[in-house]
Amino acid sequence: MKPELKRRLKSKEAVLFLIFVVIFVFMSILSPTRFLSLYNLQSMAYQLPEFGILALSMMIVIITGGINLSVTYTATLAMIIGGFAMSHMFAGGSSAGLSVLVGIILMLAGSLACGAFNGYVIAYIGVTPMLATLGAMTFFEGISLQVTRGGAISGFPIEFIKIGNTAVLGIPVPMIIFLFVLATVYLFLERSRMGATLYMIGSNPKVTRYSGINVRKNLFITYLIASLLAGIAGILMASRYNSAKESYGSSYLLQAVSAAVLGGTSIAGGEGKVIGTVIAVLIIQVISSGLNIIGLNRYLTNVVMGLILIVVLTINFLTREKQFRNN
């Protein structure tokens, strides 16, 4: 038991958590009354879920050795499809409850359709994920533009807006949804049969196929699930932003990749822990909010983020080296 505990304390995730604590304390000292205020903590809890869910979605795909550049446009296409129906139904006199229900169902269905598209092209046709999702990103954006003509879809019932903007017992609803998603993704990836398969596919698809596993089906489902998560993030965004538009969250794309790798997911596939990604998301959120409150130039915030990425990975490298030498 003891060596197990020791190993855990030395793990990448532990180091990352330590870094998170340091940054959090640092921000708190810099701005005790504001950063550490209840209001700010709550506000961060509102902001984090949509990004966190996108990062988890990205992580699942990266574990299979892929990448999903269309993740944010999946979220927005889904919200546009559902939002379009929802606002039209609502304007047409349907009850708020029904419109919201139909809207949400369509948003999830829309994201699944995007996932099926990517999944088919990648798993069954065999196109490199990077290129397939790059094409899909353009394609989804195109459809969104075609539907919205560049504008935003709004006029949602207030019941829908509430999803992203209310708190239960002080805990924002998006945060509750995030925790639920997080637990599910954890069970799926790290405890379930299919999760185990995905890690093996990410490490070596050929051997996995030779082992009698239906690699194509698993990959296909992976993209479905990842896109469904993007759809959930889309619902949160549409609700928080009270509208649906093709460009929402486009800055999350590279951030989601960064969060996954910062959290220890191997970009080559086959490796990565949910908890790592979550800590990375927390780090990014705290830096972003903290520096914003302190009033640092937005570009310097990017510089800090980049440096942290490099520094954390360097630390990982150095600890690995040290362990290697000590043994």
């Binding site: 092209v121 046709i125 065999g126 490199t128 094409g135 990749v257 130039n297 490099i310």
Partner: protein, 332 residues
């Protein structure tokens, strides 16, 4: 000869390029004109130059998402140098390639020495470099590039007289592309390091066992990529006559897409200059064709997305079929 031609790996993508070109020129004969090709050439030179560097990086199994920020930084430095130091052409080129090489070197060191995965290392440098450039310049355009340099940018290499008294010409910036392609070709084909690049991409451990120094090769590759970006920055500045620190936002994706479209493997080891140039051409031709074919604006992205996925799917299906029907045994 015939069989050799059929064996070219790039054949499917070449055919796709030809088919798309034919479709466009049927829709609009203006496509198949010298003038249009020269326009395409001039407006995509920078992409083509940068694709050479990216090809090398991807051959080692790496990727570089910082190219857009590096070219921005180099363009800003070049612009500053032009306006404050000297408008001498050679000096300008020297400044540009030096600063590009230094930034590439930095990426290379992170990747080779600190073993940071390329996509992550370059994501990091992208944030840092772009953040600094925009912080310093605040996004302000640098106008007032010396006339001497702008005049250079307007020069033509060879001119072709046209019927209506105008003259078309190959833009002077084509030289930069030529240098980039030839240098890349020379390195990849003629030097031991170049073969080492392929070897690392194919099997890194074996390359090391064979006596290659993968770390050094990787550093070299990123530095060389930086060097090419330096050339690209000069070409770009001489065409655009100003420096806009926001001009390259998102450009990295285009470079990567063109190279992958040209058949390079994201896992390393596979990819060719010919393929890459065809990938770039396909990219340019599609973009060029959108307006020439009068495709309505709101359909354009849908069309581009589908063409990218469609052509690579055809390529893939083709490869799978050959693989499946490969003769493995000389059956009696």
């Amino acid at each position: 000869m015939k069989t050799k031609l059929l064996k070219i790996k790039e054949l499917p993508i070449i055919l796709i390029l030809i088919v798309i070109s034919i479709i466009i020129s049927v829709a609009n004969p203006a496509f198949m004109t010298l003038e249009n090709f020269l326009d395409i050439l001039k407006s995509n030179l920078v992409l083509a130059i940068m694709s050479m560097g990216m090809l090398m990086v991807m051959l080692t199994g790496g990727i570089d998402v910082s190219v857009s920020s590096v070219i921005t930084a180099v363009a800003v430095i070049t612009g500053y140098s032009l306006m404050h130091w000297s408008s001498n052409l050679l000096f300008t080129i020297l400044v540009a390639v030096l600063s590009g090489t230094v930034m590439g070197l930095f990426n290379g060191l992170l990747i080779a020495k600190l073993k940071i995965p390329p996509i992550v290392a370059t994501l990091g440098t992208m944030s840092v470099i772009l953040g600094l450039v925009l912080y310093i310049t605040n996004g302000t355009w640098m106008t007032g590039i010396p006339e001497k340099f702008i005049d250079f940018g307007r020069k033509k290499l060879i001119t072709f007289p046209t019927g209506d008294g105008k003259a078309l010409g190959i833009p002077i910036q084509f030289l930069f592309l030529l240098v980039a392609v030839l240098a890349t070709w020379f390195i990849l084909r003629k030097t031991v390091i170049g073969r080492g690049i392929y070897a690392i991409g194919g099997n890194r451990d074996s390359a090391e066992r064979m006596g290659f120094k993968p770390d050094r090769i990787i550093i070299f590759v990123y530095a060389f990529e930086g060097f090419l970006i330096g050339l690209a920055a000069v070409a770009h500045t001489s065409i655009m006559r100003q420096v806009d620190p926001n001009a390259f936002l998102g450009f990295e994706m285009q470079v990567i897409a063109a190279v992958v479209l040209g058949g390079a493997s994201v896992l390393g080891g596979y990819g060719s200059i010919l393929g890459t140039l065809i990938g770039v051409s396909l990219f340019c031709v599609i973009n060029n064709g959108l307006i020439l074919m009068h495709i309505p604006t709101f359909w354009q992205k849908i069309v581009v997305g589908l063409i990218i996925i469609g052509s690579i799917s055809i390529d893939m299906t083709q490869k799978k079929r050959t693989e499946r029907n490969k003769t493995r045994v000389d059956v009696e």
